[in-house]
């Protein structure tokens, strides 16, 4: 065994380095600071909350040291009551007597063997209770988390931020053949699905009276398949949750639990038998294999929860209750209403019509503990489902739409803080929002903190950064109401739905300092592992590994990040070992999507290698899909080249471009579009398009004219625009002496209509007009309108318009009409 020293962070990449440094700085500053931001030792109100008798009288000698005193305050007082550990492990009781009340110093000695102050979650106490040993809550996981919190508080606010991660050699596993879930339901539809829909549909469907996640009993077979996959063990059907729940946990069996479990197991076995094994391709150069659970826990703390009075980590992953694991009594557990789904990697997802709400009695602790300090923080790791929802309440302590103590909400791209205090009304208005234009809120996982203190008033922090909005108004909380209920994902009145995921929520009765907020942001959310992929069989370095930081990213993916090369052998160094094209394999094959290290091309060498932290390979991370579940998926690495081992990849043939299917025949002719119409009219009349009258009319009707040649899209409104333009062109042409005499040299525009259009005189108008619009030159153009027909129509038009008199104006008007009627017709429009 070897270990990575406290300098590990320096070589794990800038992100980790900054994170750990921030934690250290925070710890140092916290120890020096005072005022409202300093750590607060919470007096635990053990009398409140839980029912049942308690006797907590400490006799014997006083604590011998400060540490014993901290043990007493943070852990012993919580576990010593006789409805907790004290019932059996008290004085004279069952060994070990760590909950004894006759001598706090001896209790301290006993408990020391049972706790791990560096990694509280690894404490024997936690493991025992988490394993089902006399948990006082409905969830063993909740008890374990609460115990972890108490031990963490004893150890001080910065446990888990240890800079030393001890790496241990994982088991030597050669990547093996494995079965993976097919992409679609397939055989599942005829094996497992019928059992689920027959026997589980009273609860495990989203439209049940009391919907119970996961919804694997829905009629939609693909949705059912997606939900049931995590409950099926392909490698060990008997160990599937679907079987265990019936056979061992007697969960709603429909007749006899043993036979029901056997029936379910048989169905799963049939499904498994239908899935072929995926063999690891022999030409692959592979590392050794690991599952997530073979990894070394890389985190589990680093948060500042010293003033947390309610904490939700959403670790239960089942049931209809989210447990308050702050350890501050009474536990403000949340009951789910509607479609609240558990999210892998810890979290809950809210869909339409859902919320998670505490009782008003337990919620009252917020009123009691926050009004005592007059300051508080609401902290959440939140992933909004979209950026289109408005008035969506994420975290709220309120009585309905119009009354509240505080609410953190979403409106489009903004977070909203509705805080009731002396400068706002009973609904927290006017509220404080992040600026719309900054689009601070994104539909991705974000760390959001809303703080309030009497001096500064409200502040919003997103991803560790304070959002600069003008609101320097302090005040008091004298008007707070203790009858409200604490609720997530909605308003208590159920009409302010937030859709999205919450992965952690904490309420603090202190305004977290910016440093503390950054600390909690850097600590992240969820559990992380260091996975050591053995490569000593490929390189001449003993105990050599490619190490990844891995976590469950959400319900559907793993996050692999920041790989580095490391040897557990003291003094072992790599020497010019090429590493190219690294890919991550899952269950015997390389997933096609997410191979972010496929382009990796580095040389492992002592010059790049640090004894403490190895050689970093990449600073980036990637997400890879969960195939079975985090307990069963087996990972390995492949390499195009590692040392002398190579696997040259050859791309297959080029996939030809798809050939379009024949389309229906379309018109061979089309309409001219706006500019073409304008230019055509200019050409036909000789009037320049830049003429101001024409230009103004064209500008006015331009967007009314056709913009597409498609003749089938021609509209009557377009014809009206064309008509206006045609009339304007003809108007300019006929009214301009130079233009009209050039175009119609033989026509007398000064004569009265009777003579101007008499007999052959009108040909001086019509002949040039038909030449310029129908191209009626040496002969007719067959694709144009028939010249004789057009001339006949024009003659009819002129005949109708000609009246007796001596008015040359009338003559020109008739000329314009004749001109425009041809210019705005199909003769000019079609091409």
């Amino acid at each position: 065994m070897s270990y990575i020293s406290k300098h590990l962070d320096e070589n794990l990449g800038p992100a980790i380095q900054v994170k750990l440094l921030a934690v250290l700085v925070t710890a140092f500053l916290a120890g020096c600071s005072g005022g409202s931001g300093s750590a607060v030792v919470q007096n635990v109100d053990v009398a409140a909350g839980d029912s049942g008798s308690r006797s907590l009288v400490l006799s014997g000698p006083p604590p011998q040291s400060d540490d014993v005193q901290r043990f007493r305050l943070e852990l012993w007082e919580n576990i010593a009551p006789d409805n907790r550990c004290g019932q059996c492990h008290g004085a004279g009781g069952q060994s070990p007597t760590f909950a004894r009340n006759d001598d706090i110093n001896r209790a301290y000695e006993e408990v020391n063997a049972l706790v791990n102050l560096n990694q509280p979650a690894q404490s024997r106490l936690v493991e025992k209770v988490g394993g089902g040993h006399n948990c006082w809550q409905a969830s063993d996981q909740a008890c374990a988390d609460i115990l972890t919190t108490w031990i963490s508080n004893w150890a001080g606010g910065t446990v888990g931020s240890s800079t030393s991660i001890v790496l241990t050699a994982p088991p030597e596993i050669i990547p093996g053949a494995s079965k993976s879930f097919p992409a679609t339901a397939g055989v599942f539809a005829t094996t497992v699905h019928p059992l689920l829909t027959t026997y589980c549909a009273n609860c495990h469907v989203d439209d049940a009276a009391i919907p119970q996640s996961p919804f694997f009993a829905t009629d939609d077979v693909e949705a059912s398949y997606a939900a049931a996959r995590s409950k099926i063990e392909l490698d060990d059907p008997a160990n599937s949750r679907l079987v265990v729940r019936l056979g061992s946990e007697f969960h709603n069996c429909w007749s006899n639990c043993v036979s029901n479990a056997a029936e379910m197991q048989t169905a799963i076995q049939t499904l498994v038998d239908s899935i072929p094994e995926t063999e690891v391709s022999p030409e692959l150069v592979t590392s050794r294999a690991l599952t997530l659970l073979d990894g070394v826990v890389a985190s589990g703390g680093g948060r500042n929860d010293a003033s947390a009075i309610a904490l939700y980590q959403f670790k239960t992953l089942t049931g209809n209750t989210a447990f308050d694991t702050s350890g501050v009594e009474p536990a403000m557990n949340l009951s789910f209403t509607g479609s609240v789904d558990w999210v892998g990697g810890y979290g809950i997802r809210f869909s339409a019509g859902s919320r998670a709400q505490a009782s008003t009695s337990t919620s009252a602790k917020l009123h009691q503990l926050i009004t005592a300090t007059s300051e508080y923080s609401v902290e959440a790791w939140v992933a909004p489902a979209n950026v289109t929802q408005e008035e969506a309440y994420i975290v709220s302590y309120s009585g309905g739409n119009s009354t509240r103590n505080f609410t953190l909400g979403q409106t489009l791209y903004s977070y909203d803080a509705l805080v009731r205090f002396s400068a706002t009304d009973g609904n927290g208005n006017p509220g404080l929002s992040t600026p719309d234009g900054d689009e601070v809120l994104q539909a991705t996982l974000q760390h959001v903190v809303m703080t309030f203190d009497p001096t500064t008033g409200r502040q919003l922090f997103v991803n560790g950064a304070r959002i600069d909005v003008a609101d320097e108004v302090g005040g008091n909380l004298n008007d707070w109401d203790d009858t409200f209920a604490f609720v997530l994902g909605n308003e208590v009145s159920n009409n302010r739905q937030f859709q999205g995921v919450l992965r952690l929520v904490a309420i603090h009765n202190r305004a977290l300092t910016p440093t503390q907020i950054v600390q909690n942001f850097d600590a992240g959310v969820g559990e992380q592992f260091m996975l050591l992929f053995g490569v000593s069989h490929l390189v001449d370095v003993p105990n050599a590994y490619i190490v990844f930081e891995v976590s469950q990213f959400d319900s559907y993916s793993y996050l692999f990040s920041q790989p580095f090369f490391y040897s557990l052998e003291q003094g072992a160094l790599p020497s010019i070992i090429p590493l190219q094209g690294m890919r991550i394999g899952i269950n015997g094959r390389e997933p096609e999507v997410g191979q972010a290290y496929a382009n990796l091309d580095v040389v492992l060498d002592a010059s790049n290698y640090s004894v403490e932290s190895g050689q970093p390979l990449s600073a980036i991370g990637t997400v890879l899909g969960i195939e079975k579940n985090p307990q069963s998926d087996e990972f390995f690495l492949t390499f195009e080249r590692l040392g002398d081992a190579t696997n040259v990849r050859v791309e297959g043939g080029i996939e030809p471009l798809p050939v379009s299917a024949d389309a229906a025949p379309v018109s061979d002719i089309g309409i001219r579009i706006f500019d073409e119409i304008n230019a055509s009219m200019a050409a036909a009349t000789g009037v320049p398009a830049a003429n101001s009258d024409v230009f103004n009319t064209f500008t006015a009707v331009r967007q009314q004219l056709p913009s597409s040649n498609n003749i089938e899209g021609f509209l009557s409104s377009q014809q009206m625009g064309i008509t206006q333009l045609a009339i304007e062109y003809c108007n300019v042409l006929i009214e301009d002496p130079a233009l009209r005499s050039a175009r119609f040299p033989g026509f007398d525009f000064s004569a009265a209509p009777g003579s101007a259009y008499a007999g052959a005189n009108r040909s001086a108008l019509l002949d040039p007009l038909l030449v310029s619009t129908l191209q009626n030159g040496a002969g007719p153009v067959a694709t144009q309108p028939d010249v004789t027909l057009v001339r006949g129509e024009l003659n009819s038009l002129i005949d109708r318009l000609v009246v007796t008199g001596n008015d040359a104006t009338r003559t020109r008007t008739i000329a314009k009409a004749a001109c425009a009627s041809v210019l705005g017709s199909a003769a000019v429009l079609l091409q």
């Binding site: 559907y556 040496a778 024009l794």
Partner: protein, 406 residues
Amino acid sequence: MRRIVGSITLLLVLFVSTEIQAGPVEQAKRIHDRIAGVPPTVEILEQMANIIGSGSGSEVANAEQAALIAIDHPDFYRTTLKNLATPWTNRDFDIFAPLNDYSATVIGLVRDDRDFRELLTGDQLYVGSAATGGPVYSASNNDHYEYLEQQGLDLAAQLEPRSQTSLTGIPAAAAAGVLTSRAASRAFFIAGTNRAMFRFTLVNHLCRDLEQVADTSRPPDRVRQDITRSPGGDSRLFRNNCVGCHSGMDPMAQAFAYYNFEFDSDNDPTGENGRLAYNDVGVLDPDTMTRVVRKYHINQNNFPFGFVTPDDRWDNYWRTGRNRNLGWSSTLAGSGNGAKSLGEELANSEAFASCQVTKVFKTVCLRAPVDGADRAQLSAMTSSFVSSGYNLKQPFVESAAYCRGE
């Protein structure tokens, strides 16, 4: 006036009959209509008809010969080419947008028989000559081009090439044809992340939107931090959709890392008076402390383990995988620095050539290709376009002959 309008409608029904045998005159009329956008004069019509009817070559060759006459018409440049190019110059594909340095450069390149690949690589933009009067070219408004358009000037006679350095002030090495024009930068470098420049170039000049080239199998190592890997808490969306485009787009859009469109977002939100900016050697962005503009590093907490852009190095990940069939040039490296070499990569693809030809075909034939004969014609015209040295007049002439009517 009402009576006049009523009379006009009488003539609107005078449409041509549908089954007309197209002789040389009719073919000449259509060729001119389709290329110049306006009907020919009787004299030009007769000239073209004579060539078609009694030329010395084949029917097609004669038709192509006649088409060359129509190409000389000012409205081929002022109307047809302008309307072809205008939708490329804005995000809405708005054909009504005014003339600008992007569309003017398209016109100029065609008029001068230039290699059309220079569209994405050249160091020139076309401006109106001094003789046109009116406002001169400005890097911070479009007045010059709007004046040229309003005057209805013969652009074929008035446009002149100028170096981009002399117009927008960017170094010659940073000039990438219309990609670095003011119009394109206003449309595609404004705000955002500069990915728009890549996407719209793909749409306009390779005739493919991102959905058509999405390939989820490419390594996502260059996808930036601002792209969440778990949209709304569901990473399946990223793995099945987002990554398909971003894995290829982000490493190529990195070419634009030093460009930005600077404008007053408060008083001029659409950038009417904004201008292209380029971080030359030694110019550091105050936020990134490199030449990379800030927009490449925004929203870094959306995925902290994403790619952090250090420079303008681009790589074409689509040279492997299914997008190999876009026909990338084997004589190019598939990587480089900056917009000019990326423009070269795109312009030398087979997809670029076939896209230009397809657009011209639609312009001239007024329809998309519909059958095997049309597709064969496109293929032949693409080869001809390439062998002509990427002269865009070539597909105009050939399309006009192909769609002349029978």
